[in-house]
């Protein structure tokens, strides 16, 4: 997994690529915790280049979501690719996360 962190209209954008699993999610967790500590208001996670996410990866995002909510911030996901839509559908993650189609949708909401 690779993480590119950029800024877009005041929001932090985490662009993830590759597999987010047991082995790679600690890196994501470290970055999330860093920005939660800075109380950023909006954190967007770009899924367009994610090839796979397992339950450890989802748990890391759940932890990130809770952390953001604790200071009134928001965490949103966008660009979920077709290849991992099934994982999101089975897990009913749309009931947990704010999932948007594109970066612009995520910023506008």
């Amino acid at each position: 997994m690779k993480i590119d962190i950029t800024e877009h209209n005041g929001a932090k954008v985490f662009s993830l690529s590759g597999d987010i699993d047991l082995y790679s999610s600690p890196v994501l967790r470290k970055e999330l915790i860093f920005f939660i500590g800075k109380k950023v208001p909006l954190l967007l996670v770009d899924f367009r280049d994610v090839s796979y996410i397992d339950s450890s990866g989802i748990a890391t995002l759940v932890e990130g979501l809770r952390g953001m909510m604790s200071h009134g911030g928001k965490l949103k996901l966008f660009g979920i690719p077709e290849r991992i839509v099934e994982i999101f559908a089975f897990s009913k993650l749309d009931k947990v996360f704010d999932i948007c189609g594109s970066l612009d949708d995520a910023v506008e909401d």
């Binding site: 047991l22 890391t60 759940v62 932890e63």
Partner: protein, 429 residues
């Protein structure tokens, strides 16, 4: 008889030869002593004593390279004042490139500094802590088969020290230290393995004692294989007061010991909650409350169904879990029902659906370890492929075993990355 030939040797040459013999003896003594122990602390003390004696130095220290932090850490420092070692070991670490030792570690070259006062690289904090005065220093990298191990420093050596001899000693030190580090790691690995074995045994005790359960017309059988000895999959059968049987399949996020401990909590909470209600929806709701705010975002996906063993009627609720398969009348139906999110994340409701089993019907409940399995070339099996396989083998008696073999064959015999659980319910077979 002729006179024996005489060879004249100058005092200088004789002195040199004696020195070589002494050096050789020291090296032999040293290799004997350092090969006598694999205990890291003991070895380091021996090495330091020898280095200090050979170089007739005021003090000696060894810094070990920590690969995880990319820093040098004082392992031992030896001088006339006995407390020095503990002081440095607790308080001083060096970045790569910092101080004399940091420079040696980064450049993998020895360094001789006759007067530290005139060398900007000298880092004086260790002296401030110990009260020792460093005047001159020799630092040599300790390089083993796997790269940098650390740096040996000799402080204030006598004037006519033998650098070649010291480097030879350091080569021996490096090998011995590396061997003892390997030994330390292998003991640690063995300890971890034993801990995992115990954790695995404890975890298995949370699953039903027998993977087969029969009551009236209902027969349940289960297969559970853990990825990393201890895993996060769970299944359970509970006989309820009203006469029904509760059947749970679940998958805790993550793997390994943390998932196993969480699974143990899920299991004990479930066993308690299941006996309080005959509604799978209420049971998942209560489990969701009891697991709310789980550490590290951990959660459980699951299917809970309560089957009336007299009539075949069953109620089912789903929490973010893959659909179950219903094998009936020559067809396989993918039961993708309205569901709530995984348990333990957010407050939610879990819808309930009701069905009735017919004679010879089979239900297959599975975890993602069955279809998320990865082939050697990185492809994932996928849920649809599992459904197709089940369609082609739905009349086989040993369908569970065949499905496990199918997933294993797909992975090409590689290590299992995720836990795999299949629970089969048969009606009136």
């Amino acid at each position: 008889m002729g006179e024996k030939p005489t060879v004249e040797i100058s005092g200088e040459v004789l002195k040199g030869m004696k020195k070589k013999v002494e050096d050789l003896k020291t090296l032999m003594d040293l290799s004997y002593v350092i090969s006598s122990t694999l205990d890291f602390s003991e070895l380091i003390s021996i090495v330091m004593e020898k280095a200090k004696a050979v170089m007739e130095a005021g003090a000696c220290s060894i810094l070990i390279y920590n690969k995880d932090t990319n820093k040098l850490e004082f392992e031992v420092a030896l001088c006339e004042e006995g407390s020095t070692s503990a002081l440095l070991k607790k308080q001083v670490t060096l970045e790569m490139g910092q101080g004399i030792a940091g420079w040696v570690a980064r450049n993998l070259k020895p360094l001789v500094i006759p007067d530290v006062g005139s060398d900007k690289r000298f880092y004086g904090d260790a002296d401030k802590l110990t009260g020792f005065t460093t005047k001159s220093i020799i630092a040599v990298p300790l390089i083993g088969r796997g790269g940098l191990i650390g740096v040996a420093e000799v402080i204030n050596p006598k004037k006519d020290y033998d650098m070649e001899m010291f480097q030879l000693l350091c080569r021996q030190f490096a090998i011995a230290i590396e061997n003892s580090l390997f030994h330390k790691e292998s003991i640690e690995r063995e300890r971890m393995k034993q801990e995992l074995d115990i954790a695995s045994a404890i975890q298995k005790s949370f699953l039903p004692a027998s993977p087969v359960f029969i009551k009236d017309n209902l027969m349940i059988s289960a297969k559970n294989i853990s990825a990393a000895k201890v895993g996060g999959d769970i299944y359970d059968f509970v006989e309820l007061a009203e006469g029904g049987v509760g059947v749970l399949i679940g998958d805790v996020s993550g793997k390994g010991v943390s998932a196993a401990i969480y699974m143990a909590k899920v299991s004990s909470d479930f066993k308690y909650i299941a006996r309080l209600t005959d509604s799978p929806s209420k049971a998942l709701d209560r489990l969701n409350i009891s697991l709310a705010g789980s550490p590290r975002g951990m959660f459980l996906t699951g299917i809970y169904m309560i089957v009336d063993t007299a009539t075949g009627h069953f109620d089912v609720s789903v929490a973010g879990h893959p659909p179950f398969l219903w094998l009936s009348d020559g067809a396989v139906r993918v039961m993708s029902l309205p569901a709530g999110p995984p348990v333990g994340i957010v407050p939610s409701e879990y819808p309930v659906a009701s069905f009735r089993l017919d004679r010879s019907d089979r239900l297959l409940l599975l975890t993602d370890g069955v279809f998320d399995v990865k082939s050697r070339d990185g492809q994932r099996l996928g849920f649809d492929a599992v459904v197709s396989f089940v369609k082609g083998h739905m009349h086989e008696e040993d369908l569970i075993e065949r499905l496990v073999d199918f997933a294993d064959d797909f992975s090409g015999g590689g290590d299992r990355a995720d836990d795999l659980t299949i629970v089969e319910l048969r009606w009136g077979a």
